[in-house]
């Protein structure tokens, strides 16, 4: 009780009118929980701490947020959560402009096929609102899940800031780095357990696709096929010292889906995607990029994580921190979002 009263005192917090000065981000996926604590320093953020914790299970009190906070001494008042689900519902909906003002919420609900048990959020780029069909981005999540995480955060005496799906986080980040310029450009994020494919047309995303497959799954299959342990598989995967083309056959559907997306852009939107920008920790493997290039028959351009984050993060981003890519860019969005306004 006393703790709850004390938590209401403002001196425990650290925020100004632009946003929090200190933030902890939890990336929750089916295997583990990634935690990053960041501080804001002028117009950049400083990575203070990165942690890899067991899976955050709402049912199990030992792996609740309050337990994590206590056991690992996570010291921050503001908390953001990113959900990395196997099946994420983030879509681009083409809504006629007439629907924008009247009843956009109902239209989005209908197009997403959601019922009352789902929480749906949507947003659209107002600069695109002059066209006849406006791309509206919508994400949905079971309502009790969103509320459950919120309660967890409040129980851990933290202030909830944002709950995002990893796809929408990636979408926002790619929107920043894509810019205008070319007609069509595509970005493929290869994370550990998920990957996101976004196609841009003149600085606005036209296609968003989420895959529940990441480089971790590739490594699992390598372990199974060659009998490596995990560390060895990781080493060989990233140092490009071994040919894994046989084990990559399992992931043919993954690359095939990417090809379908490319085709969709060509047939329906009448544009050609010439290069694919690949980033994320999975793109560090030359072997992976080569096999991707041979599959989709497009030029593959590898973007370095440290270069991507150089504008926002103070200091170098090393390999270990690149794994926390989604957490870092979520924090960047929350902490530096207010400064740019």
């Amino acid at each position: 009780m006393l703790k709850k009263i004390l938590s209401n005192f403002e001196w425990k917090r650290s925020a100004d009118k632009f946003g929090p000065k200190r933030l902890v981000v939890f990336v929750v996926n089916s295997e583990c929980t990634k935690v990053v604590v960041l501080n804001r320093c002028n117009d950049k953020v400083v990575i203070e701490e990165t942690l890899m914790l067991p899976k955050w299970d709402v049912e199990n009190p030992e792996t609740s947020l309050a337990a994590f906070k206590r056991d690992y001494q996570i010291d921050a008042h503001y908390c953001s959560v990113v959900l990395q689900l196997d099946k994420e519902q983030v879509r681009v909906l083409n809504v006629p402009r007439n629907d924008l003002r009247d009843n956009l919420g109902a239209a989005v609900f209908e197009l997403m096929g959601s019922d009352d048990s789902q929480a749906v959020v949507f947003d659209y780029d107002e600069t695109q609102a002059s066209t006849a069909v406006v791309p509206v981005f919508a994400a949905s999540l079971p309502l009790d899940e969103a509320e459950g995480f919120r309660e967890e955060v409040v129980d851990a005496l933290m202030q909830p800031v944002s709950l995002d799906l990893s796809t929408s986080v990636i979408l926002n980040f790619v929107k920043k780095i894509a810019g205008g310029g070319e007609d069509y450009s595509s970005f493929f994020y290869v994370g550990d357990v998920s990957s996101v494919f976004v196609v841009f047309r003149k600085g606005s995303p036209v296609l968003v696709r989420h895959f529940g497959t990441g480089y971790r799954h590739v490594i699992e299959s390598i372990c199974q096929e060659f009998g490596f342990n995990e560390n060895m598989a990781l080493d060989t995967f990233f140092t490009n010292s071994f040919d894994f083309s046989t084990s990559m056959r399992r992931f043919t559907p993954w690359f095939h889906q990417l090809g379908i997306c490319m085709d969709y852009v060509e047939r329906h939107l009448h544009g050609r995607v010439r290069t694919m920008n690949v980033y994320g920790l999975g793109s560090r493997s030359k072997f992976f990029c080569d096999s991707l290039q041979s599959r989709i028959k497009r030029e593959v351009n590898v973007l370095k994580t440290s270069d991507l984050l150089a504008d926002y993060v103070e200091g170098e981003v090393d390999d270990a921190q690149a794994e926390f890519f989604i957490a870092i860019i979520t924090a960047v969005e929350v902490m530096l979002g207010g400064l740019s306004k």
Binding site: V161, S162, D164, S168, G338
Partner: protein
């Protein structure tokens, strides 16, 4: 512009923004300590001041009680009162009586042309020497009257000289003498009149 696809409402950062309350606590402590120290300094200063005053005007109760309780002391007090008040009064009356013949003798010697209208003699008590039981007296004499005849100034100066005379008048004990001629008229009709007032002061012989 980034898309807002968060399922939670972000906190209102303006409401979260406040001056750190620790700062106000610090300010309050500084003011409190400062006020206390000033107050204590003033109180101490006042106390020492009062103590010094108390020492200066200390009333020796032991002495006073001894003085009032003892029979001899009360006798002495009575004597001092008798000496200072009653005897003094008697002596003053006696002195005035003694002065009266001198005055009446003086007025007989005055020129016939001077007619007195009024005379007042007042004893004004002066502060005498410290420790003297009877204080020396000072008198003020105001005489007003009319001078008949033409040479009124000569007659009046003659009258004043008479007062200052060593043997019959007051002599050196006369302190001052001032003549005020109020009106002089009737020179044309043959009977000249001058109304005058003389204020003079003298101490006892």
């Amino acid at each position: 512009m980034s898309l807002d696809l968060s399922f939670w409402e972000p906190p209102d950062w303006k409401r979260e923004t406040r001056v750190n309350p620790l700062f106000w606590v610090f300010v309050a402590v500084v003011i409190g300590v400062g006020g206390l120290s000033i107050g204590l300094t003033v109180a101490l200063q006042r106390a020492t001041e009062l103590g010094a005053q108390h020492d200066m005007y200390k009333i020796d109760m032991a002495r006073i009680s001894a003085q009032y309780n003892g029979v001899e002391k009360s006798k002495k007090l009575y004597q001092s009162i008798e000496k200072g008040v009653l005897l003094n009064l008697r002596e003053r009356v006696a002195r005035r009586r003694a002065m009266a013949p001198t005055l009446s003798k003086l007025f007989k010697m005055v020129n016939d042309d001077i007619v007195f209208d009024a005379l007042s003699l007042k004893g004004v008590e002066t502060v005498g020497q410290k420790g003297a039981s009877i204080k020396s007296m000072r008198y003020s004499l105001i005489v007003s009257g009319t001078v008949f005849g033409t040479d009124s100034e000569d007659k009046l100066s003659e009258f004043q000289q008479l007062f200052k005379d060593e043997e019959q008048g007051f002599g050196e004990s006369m302190l001052s003498s001032e003549v005020t001629q109020i009106d002089s008229s009737g020179e044309e009709s043959g009977v000249a009149k001058t109304v005058f007032t003389i204020k003079s002061e003298f101490k006892e012989k």
